[in-house]
């Protein structure tokens, strides 16, 4: 609930619009009450057979209310949806910034499910927040006050009855609906979790389930969960019926109360029969503002959950302090890493331990080692995705935190497993690295990576849509596009983080022969657990459990017969393909 309230602050900028939309909503319901009230007035007056002129006011009234109600409702819908759309747009943007701050932090497990898809689904859920949760109660309160005042003027004794009926009724419906969904909701979420886990097992472990012959067991498991879910749904069906019951019973009971008192008042000549007729229809009509509270209660818990998940990510705060102000004239791309150690906040184990190395233009440095040895952490530190207390990284002789953050990051271009091809055109995917790049520069980058002819052969050349749902590209093409992107960026330092993952040996060879000549003007850090083309490297750093345990050139390391040699040896005993087999 707290998270939902916090999200409501995004509505504050639109308070004027909200005022307008709730006024319109109030006006629409009030016009409905007016329509039925004046209708009752007309026929009740007419029953007493007065001169025609006596009816004229009522006739003007019904005509006015009859037309205005639709207009008010229409405008109210437009304005409330407009607020809603603005609100959602703001949330999307805000959340983009939240994630922009967080990524690529190690503390969020982005691998678990598709977190991003979940986030977008959560944001979509918030669609109901204004229209179904915020707006109806405001309208309900305004209408309740309005009707109570109206009846109070007729006779003050009516006020407590109508107030009771509307307020208690509204609250009752809201809370009954909310508690039903809240209660069964928690159980359902648990069972849905079970479903999801079970399906994941069956789908991802499908072959193992087949070969282990455990289908019957899986089917039994499923039946248990499914039966539980089914009976919960049946329970909630009956509880949901309760809301329906209330939506008929409460107005009925309130009407009865009004009639009970109204009849007495007529008997005592405190009000006339015409008023009694009007009161009856006004009471029936005013519940139009109360009924939507039930559905507000129903969606509340769902919105709360979404809001909580969004806020949870917001609270995992990790801020890089961009306090440097040194503006360099021209970077040469010389990186020096000295005695660099690092552990993630809250963890004791060092991820990196006294790392020393340097990157110099024209030098190829390879960082190799088994998975999990800390290779990627070095990249995150070079790019200042993590801040450390003891600075051990300097750029052109000056520690990197003394520069502005953007300037530091601009010195690097990175190709990694997580480098992303956007669902956009080829040229957009390239120029993202350098928005000011012109067509010639894009073309020459493509030529350098041997992709120009391919690009020209595409249906729409550079404007061909790639990425999700776009033109299919192979792993090798993908890496070349990423490389062209790096070249366009024109940064002095290039970092390759497992660039040949998911490629077969032949494509790997081809890629290397394309890349190698391009690299000669840059400071290059080549990170890999595949020991190929190592004889081209000017220095090899062998990282194991966060420390560099061996360094040198390939020939020397092989002669040394240490850890590097061992890994090299194992690899050479592997046959062919390192990619995923796709047959």
């Amino acid at each position: 609930m707290r998270a939902t309230i916090r999200l409501c602050k995004f509505l504050i900028p639109y308070s004027k619009w909200i005022l307008l939309s709730t006024s319109l909503s109030f006006a629409a319901v009030a016009a409905g009450i007016g329509l039925l009230g004046t209708s009752a007035l007309i026929i009740a007056q007419a029953a007493l057979k007065p001169p025609f002129s006596a009816l004229q006011l009522g006739i003007v009234g019904v005509r006015f209310f009859g037309i205005s109600r639709g207009v008010f409702r229409y405008l109210e819908r437009l304005s409330s949806h407009s607020i809603n759309l603005k609100f959602l747009a703001d949330i999307r943007l805000w959340f983009y910034y939240v994630l922009e701050q967080l990524l690529p932090s190690q503390q969020i497990n982005f691998q678990k499910g598709d977190l991003f898809a979940r986030i977008t689904a959560d944001i979509d859920t918030l669609e109901d927040l204004y229209i179904r949760i915020i707006s109806p109660p405001i309208t309900a309160i305004l209408i309740t006050v309005f009707v109570a005042l109206f009846m109070g003027r007729i006779n003050p004794q009516l006020t407590p009855i109508i107030l009771m009926g509307m307020m208690m009724g509204g609250l009752l419906m809201f809370f009954v609906a909310a508690s039903v969904t809240e209660k069964s909701g928690a159980k359902m979420i648990k069972l849905r979790g079970e479903f999801s886990r079970m399906l994941k097992d069956l789908l991802d472990g499908n072959e193992d389930v087949h070969t282990s012959g455990t289908w019957q067991k899986k089917i039994n498991e499923f039946s248990i969960v499914n039966d539980g879910y089914y009976s919960l749904e049946k329970d909630s069906a009956l509880q949901r019926g309760t809301t329906t019951f209330l939506s008929i019973f409460i107005p009925g009971a309130t009407l009865l109360g009004i009639l009970w008192l109204g009849l007495e008042l007529v008997d005592n000549h405190q009000i006339d029969g015409i008023t009694l007729a009007v009161l009856t229809l006004v009471t029936i009509a005013c519940f139009e503002a109360i009924i939507p509270l039930g559905s507000a209660g129903e969606v509340l818990s769902k919105i709360n959950q979404s809001a909580e998940r969004l806020m949870l990510l917001n609270s995992t705060n990790h801020v890089i302090i961009d306090a440097g102000n040194l503006v360099p004239t021209e970077f040469t791309g010389e990186i020096k890493v000295e005695n660099l150690s690092f552990h993630y906040p809250g963890e004791i184990n060092c991820v990196l331990n006294s790392i020393d190395f340097s990157l110099v233009p024209g030098k190829l440095t390879a960082l190799v080692g088994p998975t999990g040895s800390g290779k990627s952490t070095i990249v995150n530190l070079l790019l200042r995705f993590w801040d450390i207390n003891e600075w051990g990284i300097s750029l052109d002789g000056i520690e990197i935190h003394k520069y502005q953050l953007a300037d530091v990051r601009n010195q690097f271009s990175v190709m990694s497993n997580s480098s992303y091809i956007f669902a956009n055109t080829l040229s957009a995917n390239l120029s993202i690295a350098n928005p000011s790049a012109n067509l010639d520069e894009i073309n020459s980058a493509l030529k350098l990576v041997n992709m120009y002819h391919w690009a020209m052969s595409l249906p729409d050349q550079l404007n061909t849509w790639i990425g999700e749902n776009g033109w299919q590209i192979s792993a090798g093409q993908r890496q070349r596009i990423l490389l062209a992107r790096m070249l366009l960026r024109n940064s002095p330092v290039m970092i390759f983080d497992e660039p040949t993952a998911n490629m077969d040996a032949i494509s790997e060879n081809r890629l290397w022969s394309d890349i190698k000549p391009v690299l000669k003007n840059y400071s290059v850090l080549w990170i890999t657990h595949r020991l190929v083309h190592m004889d081209d490297m000017d220095e090899i750093l062998f990282l194991s459990k966060g420390s560099i345990i061996e360094r040198g050139i390939h020939k020397d390391l092989i002669e040394k017969e240490g850890a590097y040699f061992q890994m090299w040896n194992i690899q050479n005993k592997l046959l062919i393909y390192h990619g995923e087999s796709e047959d």
């Binding site: 009740a44 007419a46 407009s82 479903f195 399906l199 012959g213 009970w260 953007a406 390192h578 047959d583």
Partner: protein
């Protein structure tokens, strides 16, 4: 989007009784409303016109209580039955969905996105709820209740009846007129919406890349622009779609106004009774309500209809065989002696086996012929997409040969029940999958009573026993998705323990392709040797050590078997295998 979806409505057939109950109680509720209106008009008119006192009206007031309580109760029943019906249908769909998974060919299933299927199961089926519990009954109500009310009004006042009769059809007519335009706009809007959603999702997924390129701040402005465009487009559409609601509202309110005036005037001049007038006034707003509800519920049910399309696509996938019971082509009698065959000596023969995946235009494997005996170790080598996996899938009966056959001692394996066949095979896939459950369950692959000693023995052989001993709950430690996270090495060991536990006479292995750290590598090689001891083994091999030790090496290329023989034989041939070993292994 159609008003009536035949396929979806067809699902109700099994739940006829619930559906009738829902409709029945809904109609009763509508009837009770007429009674309620009648009583109410008698009360008001009794006091107003006949000057009766409250005490005289008490019986009417009491019956009013009774009627609206009953009406509430029937609506409760109507809604409740509708919900239960929806729950039943969803329950059936879930069962069908799950059953489908058990019956789809694993090869086919592997090509589907598990995330998407899970979402379809969890959200897609729930999205259907509103279609069944709200929209479908409402169609009936919208068609019947107005008629019901009309029959009530006509005898009492023909003129009002005519007004109601004439205006009601106007509503659908106008809705269709506006609806057609709105539908096109809504469709565009949907495309627009999915583009925006897709774009946002795409941006989030690529956020790290944007950040690395220091474009993330800049990109926010693009996002803002797209958001704005989307918002303005949406509003344009809403202006039209809300028009249909507007027309509905206007027709309803104006008829109320007209009827009020028309009745009022006749009351003024004629002999029309106040009570009749009042009752009609009470009924008119309710007369339009079912139609209004229908248009609201139509929009709410759209999502479900869309989900159902994807759902029925999935449920329509061709099935592979009933793995739970007897296989489709399985013959129990012939399989009876399978155990005997496996216990004694046997020979497995691939006889001109070919297979082509339905959606491909070249065969994955063609004309495979080879044989191996009990106790022999077979290594399959070859490039990516050379047909190695297909060969193994054929052997595991995940797919059946398009032509040719695989026999064990002359008995075609297609005549053997899949479950029977697989119960004699231990399979180690390339990517070990750890199920969510306990370690014991992952090893024995069953819950309940397990032979703990046998599990420990299996763990010991895959060198996981020391680590498991150090865990607080030992073999009952939860692992997988929601449990203890295992490292890649540990997962591999756990999955191997599964095979040690199963101890089947035939082993099928798909070796991991990439090198891991020296320690794990050593372990993998050792356990491969241990597992293979005394068994008949078929391996997709990526390690020279495995290949060296194999009795038969099958070299695959483009779906064909191009060389076969032992390591030394093949080297002597100086063919494809020789090149392969020379090129990658550097050993010749």
């Amino acid at each position: 989007m159609r008003i009536w979806n035949k396929q979806l409505s067809g699902l109700v057939k099994q739940q006829k009784i619930l559906f009738y109950l829902c409709i029945g109680f809904g109609l009763i509720s509508a009837g009770l409303f007429l009674i309620q209106a009648n009583i109410l008009s008698q009360i008001v008119s009794g006091s107003f016109i006949d000057k009766r006192t409250r005490s005289e009206l008490v019986p009417l007031l009491l019956s009013l209580i009774l009627v609206f309580t009953l009406r509430g109760f029937s609506s409760y029943c109507s809604d409740g039955f509708a919900k239960i019906m929806a729950a039943q249908i969803k329950n059936d769909l879930r069962k069908a969905f799950f059953g489908k998974i058990t019956r789809i060919n694993p090869v086919r299933l592997k090509n589907m996105q598990s995330g998407e299927l899970i979402t379809l199961f969890l959200s897609g089926i729930d999205d259907l709820d509103r279609y069944f519990s709200e929209y479908l009954p409402q169609i009936i109500f919208a068609l019947s209740i107005p008629v019901f009310y009309l029959l009530f009004v006509f005898p009492r006042d023909a003129l009002s009846g005519i007004i109601l009769f004439v205006t009601a059809p106007l509503i659908p007519v106008f809705m269709v007129l506006i609806g057609n335009r709105a539908e096109k706009l809504t469709q565009d809007q949907w495309d627009n919406f999915s583009r925006l959603g897709g774009h946002y999702l795409d941006t989030l997924r690529g956020l790290v890349t944007l950040k690395v390129l220091s474009q993330s701040k800049h990109y926010a402005r693009t996002l803002e622009k797209i958001n704005d465009e989307y918002r303005l487009d949406t509003l344009k559409v809403l202006r039209v779609t809300f028009l249909s609601a507007f027309v509905l509202e206007i027709i309803a309110t104006i008829s109320i106004a007209i009827i009020a005036v028309e009745i009022g005037l006749r009351l003024l001049y004629g002999t029309f009774s106040f009570q009749t007038a009042f009752v009609i006034l009470l009924i008119v707003p309710e007369y339009y309500s079912p139609l209004r509800q229908l248009s609201l519920k139509f929009h709410a049910s759209n999502k479900g209809v869309a989900a159902f399309q994807r759902l029925s696509e999935f449920l329509g996938i061709e099935e592979w065989g009933n793995v739970v019971g007897a296989s489709l082509e399985g013959d129990r009698d012939k399989a009876e002696n399978l155990k005997d065959i496996l216990d004694n000596s046997f020979v497995i023969r691939f006889n001109q086996v070919s297979y082509q995946y339905p959606e491909r235009n070249v065969p994955a494997v063609s004309d495979l012929s080879f044989e191996f005996n009990k106790g022999q170790h077979v290594a399959i080598v070859g490039e990516t997409a050379s047909g190695k996996t297909t060969l193994v899938n054929l052997f595991l009966k995940f797919i059946n040969p398009g032509s040719g056959e695989i026999c064990i001692n002359g008995l075609p394996i297609k005549d053997i029940n899949v479950n029977q066949w697989l119960s004699h095979i231990a399979y180690v896939s390339q990517r070990p999958y750890v199920f969510s459950g306990t370690i014991a369950m992952n090893v024995a692959m069953e819950n309940g009573l397990v032979d703990e000693d046998r599990i420990w023995k299996a763990l010991n052989r895959s060198q996981l026993d020391k680590w498991v001993q150090s865990l607080e709950h030992g073999i009952f430690t939860q692992v997988g998705e929601d449990g203890f996270r295992l490292s890649t090495g540990q997962s591999q060991r756990l999955v191997l323990a599964r095979s040690f536990f199963k101890d089947a006479p035939i082993m099928v292995m798909d070796e991991p392709t990439s090198a891991v750290d020296p320690e794990t590598e050593m372990f993998l090689q050792n356990s491969h040797r241990l597992l293979a001891e005394g068994k008949t083994v078929l391996t997709i091999a990526h390690r020279l050590a495995t290949v060296y030790q194999a009795d038969i090496i099958l070299v695959m290329k483009n779906g064909s078997l191009i060389e076969r023989g032992s390591h030394s034989n093949l080297l002597a041939q100086q063919g494809e295998y020789f090149d392969m070993v020379k090129h990658y292994g550097g050993v010749a």
